[in-house]
Every structure is written in structure tokens, then in C-alpha cells.
């Protein structure tokens, strides 16, 4: 069975936030909750790079390991989901996650906890597929419709890839091969005195 993965190609990501807006608009996410965000390093300096980050749907997900009420689970295709009806909003998953993926509704001074929200890979949630309840709690279930997640589908430069990890890896491998030759090859500038 395929294992679902995201891959953000930093040579392609142009920091346009199209993925962020597609996710929010398509899933009706409240302002302040960011299932996905674009992080830029070295902004305005040589070597500036941007990467779109969300829940990475880890194979051995630390959030699942630490959840005290077993609200987080992994589907057979690798998508990690949370049951909002079980979640107590304690924030252990937030501490465990290396990517800052778990989101909590905004509250007062100390950050009121509510049920955790995060990227669903546009695969809905534990409620009945295509039900109103699923849509209300988790947003669209595009995977069940046979469609890719909104963010990757929207990406103008195809920096953000989503789907079967084998297929994603093939696409990325081809790009990396193309980039590793000619003027883009490591050492080309020194070898041919191009700079």
C-alpha cells in the first residue's frame, strides 16, 4: 500500500503562500490556526530559501507516542489524524512535534487549549466520510474523492509534492538529476571560471 508523503522542493518554492491560502480557504480554517506555513531562511540575503511546512505525517509519529488519551492515530496509508472528540487539548503533541504542526484555537493570555487541529492531508477525519460532521470538524476529504491535497494541487511551481511517497520520490529524483549537470553542477563555476 502507498504511503502518503509531502515533499517541498526548496529550489522550486518561491514563498508565495498559495499553499497556505488554499488550505485555509478550502478547509475553512479559522484565522490564527495554521495547518501549513511557509518558512523563509536568510531572508534578503544570499542563500535565501523558503520551505512550506505542515504535519509531515511521520512514520513513527512522536505525537501519537505522547498523546495521553490516544486521540491521534495513523491510517494504513500513513496519514496521521486526530480525533477532535477525544482530544483534550493538553499540548503534549505540540511539545513532541519537531515541526510545530499541532495548532490550537486562540484563547486568552496562556493560550486556551481546545481540541488540537492540524493538517489532515485533506483526508477528513474519523467521522463518516463526506458527512457534514467530518467537514465541520476537519474540512474536506479530497483523498476519498481521489484528489491530491489542496496545498499541493494549488502550488504554482510544483514545489510542494504530495501523494504516494514512491511517486513523489521519482519526480524529485528526476529534478535532482537534471540540476546536477551543466552550470548547476557542484564545482562548475570553479572548474570553468564562471564567477
Amino acid at each position: 500500500m502507498a504511503r502518503m508523503k509531502f515533499l517541498c522542493d526548496v529550489e522550486r518554492c518561491i514563498d508565495c503562500s498559495g499553499c497556505v491560502v488554499a488550505c485555509k480557504e478550502g478547509n475553512q480554517i479559522p484565522v490564527g490556526v495554521n495547518r501549513r506555513r511557509v518558512i523563509t531562511l536568510n531572508q534578503g540575503q544570499a542563500g535565501e530559501k523558503s520551505i512550506s511546512v505542515s504535519c509531515m505525517h511521520c512514520a513513527d509519529a512522536p505525537c501519537i507516542a505522547v498523546c495521553p488519551v490516544d486521540a491521534i492515530y495513523q491510517r494504513e496509508d500513513g496519514v496521521v489524524l486526530v480525533s477532535k472528540k477525544t482530544c483534550i487539548g493538553c499540548g503534549y503533541c505540540f511539545m513532541a512535534c519537531p515541526f510545530g504542526a499541532p495548532q490550537f484555537p486562540k484563547g486568552a493570555a496562556f493560550g486556551a487549549r481546545g481540541a488540537m487541529d492540524k493538517c489532515t492531508f485533506c483526508a477528513g477525519g474519523p467521522e463518516e466520510t463526506f458527512s457534514q460532521e467530518e467537514k465541520k470538524l476537519y474540512g474536506q476529504n479530497r483523498i476519498a474523492e481521489g484528489k491530491p491535497p489542496l496545498c499541493a494541487a494549488m502550488c504554482a511551481t510544483k514545489a510542494l509534492l504530495a501523494g504516494d511517497a514512491d511517486v513523489v520520490a521519482d519526480v524529485y529524483r528526476e529534478r535532482v538529476f537534471a540540476r546536477g549537470s551543466g552550470v548547476n553542477a557542484w564545482g562548475w563555476d570553479k572548474a570553468y571560471n564562471k564567477k
Binding site: E11, R12, I14, D15, C16, S17, G18, V20, V21, K24, E25, V31, G32, Q43, G44, Q45, A46, E48, K49, S50, A156, T157, K158, R175, A178, R179, S181, G182, V183, N184, K194
Partner: protein
Amino acid sequence: MTNSLNDIRHAKSMIFIGSNAPEAHPVAMQHVLHAKEKNNAPLIVVDPRRTKLAAKATDYIRIRPGTDAAFMMGLINAVITNGWEDKEFIRTRVAGYQEMAAVAVHYTPEVVEDITGIPAAEVTRIARILAENRPTSLTWCMGGTQHHIGSSITRSFCILQLVLGNMGVSGGGTNIFRGHDNVQGATDMCVLSDNLPAYYGLSDGAWKHWCRVWDVDYEYIKGRFPSKDWMNKKGFTLARWYEGVLQEEKIHQDTPIKAMIQWGCGSNSNSQYFKLKKAYDMLDLLVIVDPFPSMAAVMSDKDNAYILPATSQYETSGSVTSTSRQIQWRNKVVDPIYDSKDDYTIMAELVKRFGFADEFYKNIKEIPEDITRELGRGSLTIGYNGPTPERIKKHMENWHTFDIETLRANGGPCDGDYYGMPWPCWTDEHPGTPILYDISKSVAEGGLPFRNRFGNERTYESSGRTEDQLAAPGVFNPGSEVEGGYPEFKDVVPGTNWKTDLSQETLKVAIKRGMAPFGNARARCVVWDFPDKVPIHREPLHSPRPDLVEKYPTYKDKENHFRVDTRYESEQNPELYKKFPYVLTTGRMVEHMGGGAETRSNKYLAELQPEMYAEINPRLANNLGIRADEMIWIESPEGGKIKVKAFLTERVDDKTIFLPYHFGGMFMGESLLDKYPKGHEPYVIGEPGNICTNYGYDIITQIQATKDGLCNISRA
């Protein structure tokens, strides 16, 4: 755009100057990155800011704002000095080359370094990259045009491509990315004050041509004007309309402007925006047609404004033209919501009340199809006659049959057509012209030579040399009856030419003979009716370099420039920089659009970019005692001032301040939030960057100079 977005995939190198595509044209970037990855094409980015596009560049060159022409002439000189020019292309298809080269020779790498700040060695190195990686796709945007010498700067880009022989080839071309949805269409319909649709100008012949198309009596149209001579005079431009109200400078019109309609116009994209405030207050009537209340809607202190709620593009349908000259059909997704009406309905209601609906709608019964039909029938200059509504819709329904690399349909109902029938599409059987001036294909298959527009022969003032303006023998499209240059077609139908023959017989005859209706000529480097016949550098009106103002001064003042006297010489004070020491430039951010009325009213976009700011180099900020995120005042020499947050970043150098121009709803430190209609306030308001942009207008087009002004800054 001579080529298309898709065709950039074939470039062997790319140079972007005054263009920041990831912010302004994110969707186009897929083709740019494709060429970079697949062809190993160097991506050269020339910009005062280290932009998001610079982050993707192989070579980033920081340039001083307003010095693009000097850099281009320097590249041209370096190409010629090193013998890298395309000699055969120049010999056969270019005019005025020697006269141009005689001017370019001044721009040695050292001179270019002094003017632009680009190291001399870099000028030669970039020229070499372009010479060794042909064809080059060259892109510029508003960073190239919005200067008082914008018309010279853009010409210098074109001349570079001619010298390198990069015109009329796949992967080459001058590819100006248009800034908004359907801007190419708006341009083609000449929503301008000096032209009738399709670049026909304002001559009597132009009026008579369009009267025939509209099926309206010429005498009737003439009767609508106070006297005939007003029909041939240019009007005010968007950049300077407010002078028509304020009359701070002498205007050439019988009365000041009293009423104004702003239809889909973000008024805060006007430079010296604080002056518009006075003009809005003085208008008798202001009508705003927009899906959202724009900045103009809250500017006036007088009760003189009406807002007509227009629909978004999703609530209407019709033809639109993309940056690649492709005509597409847009289908309605939902019926107009709330009280909004689509543009056609608003226009119809206006026309009815003005009392000329019978004339206006003579050929237009089915909306919008008949509009596309009528404008196509008249727009022969640019070959809009081929794409009928039926053909456009057929393309939309079959777009999966078009090839992403060539844009050509491979089989299916559109077999052989290029997607969107890029204009000129001469007849209803023509496939469209995907690459302009490409002589490798027959005219019937989408090829073209350069247009014969400026006579058949010319004697140059600077050299006294006389040159044939038609292409050299041996230069022709396959199948052409004449195997060399030829003039434009006329009198095929007596008394008409290819532009005015509504029977389209001339176009058909030309194509049957394998020839271009507009002739086969050379591209000219010398424009004898411009003040600078060959592009040269002139210092920005407000320059930080008094020594260069002396060497490269601006033009003489220009009287009656689009109905208003315009200052050049008398405005260029070399001492100005002492009080206003920092260069001010503006640009876009990807999250917001134009004046921002729409995007600042979208909660997710507002969340991503919630606040107006000024980019300041950390070194400059430290020298001035400004800390990150502190509020600062920015002041223009004209008296505009804004209070904004300091965003410390090395995107800009320590002499330059950058402002995004999408914010509105604040005015010189005051919030205008309570002036919006209740419930229609944008989520985000901020100071318009254009309050601080300076005086300065292009000598030909009058486009505003927003990219190279001066300012002062201080802690608030």
C-alpha cells in the same frame, strides 16, 4: 510579450530586470524554473532589491534605481566590443545599428560602474553569459518602465535583444509580464487617452474606421464633441488626472475636470497620492465601480462619491487576453451576489441614461459574445479578428489537447491551432502567432517578419547615412512570394489598407501570397521622433548623485504633455538629496494586489500581510537609531508623509527604502476607517506607499516615476 510564458521553457539563459516574478507573477515562475533546471539556463536578476526572484537567481546584480538604460547600453557596448553581436541578424533585420553603436560606445564598463553601482567586471561577465547562452529570454516589468526615461529604458532592453539576435526565436524575445488579469486585453482595447481600440490612434482615419465597425455615422460621433479638434487631441492620463482638477500646473483644456468615474481602479497606485486628496475634495461627482470600496471611496471629505457595487470575475463571463497574447473565455461560476451587477449591466444602464443606447448597441445583441465579435472585427492591426467566441470556447473546452511546450493542439477539434490563438490571428483559419517576428514559419502557420511601420527609407540625423528600412534580400518567411523586404499591403481593396479593409480581403490575399499584411521590415534602433533617438542614461529627476545630474541631465520641460505642462529641467534640483538623502522605490508583495481593496478584504490574505511597512537596511537603521518594528515617518520632497513600521532587512542596501504599494485606509498618520460604508471596511488598513512617491513622468508615455525618488526618514 513577443513570446509566451510557456516558451520561456526553451530559453538557454534568462535575464530579469525590474521584475520580481515570485511576488508579481507566481504562476509564471514554473516555466522560469523549468528552463533553469532542464536547460541549465543561467537566471540573471538585476534589481535594486535582493528580491524573492533574486533568491532563485544564478546571478544577482544589485543596480541603483533608475540606471537601467546605462546598464543595458553598457551590456550592448560590451557585446560589440568583444565581437559577440549577431552580425547576420543585424545586417539583414536591424536598422540604425551603426548610429546606435556610436552612442553605446560611451558606456564602457567603468562608466557603467560609476552610474549604476555595478562593478565593471560584472558588466562584461554578464555580457559573456548572455553571449554564450543564446537564446536569452529578457523580462522587465514596472521596475523598467516607471521612470521619467522609462521609454528609453524599455527600448534599450529591445536593442540588446536585437544585437544578440534573440528576437523571433523560441526561447528568446522580450517578455514583459503583464501585471493584472486581462491587462493585455485592456491594453489592446487601448483604455488610454491617446488611442482608439487596437492602437489605431486618434486620427480622422482611425475615427472613421471605428465608426464603420460600430456602424455609427461619423458625423454623429463628431457631433458629440464641442468641436472636431478635440477628437484628435490626447486626453489626460491616469498618472496626472488630478492636475486636471487642481491645476497646480497649466492645463490645456477649456474647463477643469469636474466629474470622474473610477472603474476597477485602485487609486492609491497613483504617485504623489496626497495630492489626489485635494482633487477628490474638489470634484463635483465621483463614481466608483468596484467589488469592494476602494481607497478613492474614503478620500473625499465632501459628499460627492457614489459606489456602484460590481461583481467579481466569477459572476460574469466574456473574453480576456493573457500576457502571452492568448484570448480565453471566462465562464460565469455563480450569479451576481447581493446587489452587485456585472460590468456589462452597469455600462448598459449608464449608456441608456446618457441616451445613446441605439448607437452603442447597434451590433451588440448577445452579450458578451457580440462584444468579442465587434472588437475582433475592428482590431485588424493586431489580428483580433480570427478568434471568434466560438473558436475561443472551443479552445477552452479542449485545452488538454494543447502541448505545454509548443502550445499547439496535437489532433482533436483544435488541431494545429496555438492555444488561445495568440494575436495576431489574421483569419478564422489562422492558428495564431505564438512567437512574434519568427521567420522560420510561414505566415499562414504563425510566422511573421518585423513590421514595416516607419517608412521604407531613412536618413539619420546623427550620421547623415541613408538606410533601407525594409528587410534585406533573403530574409522572408517560407513560401513568401517576395524573397526579401516588402512594404505593408494597401489598395488590395481600393482606398483601404490591411488595417482598414473590413472585408479582410487584404489579409487573406497577403497570407495566400505567403506574406505578412504589415510588410517585412527591419527593427529600428533609432527612433527619430523621440527626444532621445537612441536610448541614453539621464539621471532620475530626484537624484542622490549631483555629479551625475550635471553629466546626464534630464529633458527640457514639456508643455502640454497629455494636456498638462510637465516639469523636467526645472524640477531636477541637484541639491535636493541633502534634505532627502535616501532613494525611495516601491513594489509588490505576493499576498496583495494593486490598491489592495480586494485582497485586504480577504481574511486569509490580510492575516498573512496585516501591516504596512518600510524595508530598511539594518546598517542604515542602526545609524539612524531606528530599531526593528519601530514606527517611522517617511517624507517626500513634495510634502507627502506616512507613518509606517520599520522592517529591517538586507533586501535593500543602506541607501534605499522600499515600500509596498498595496495599502490604503490610512492617510498621513490618520485612519479613514470610519469613512467606509458600514460593514464594508477592509480587514487591514495601512498608509499608501504612493503618498511618498515623487514627482516625475515619462517623456513619451507620461507613466509615473515611482521607482527612483528620494525621501527622508525619522523615528516617529
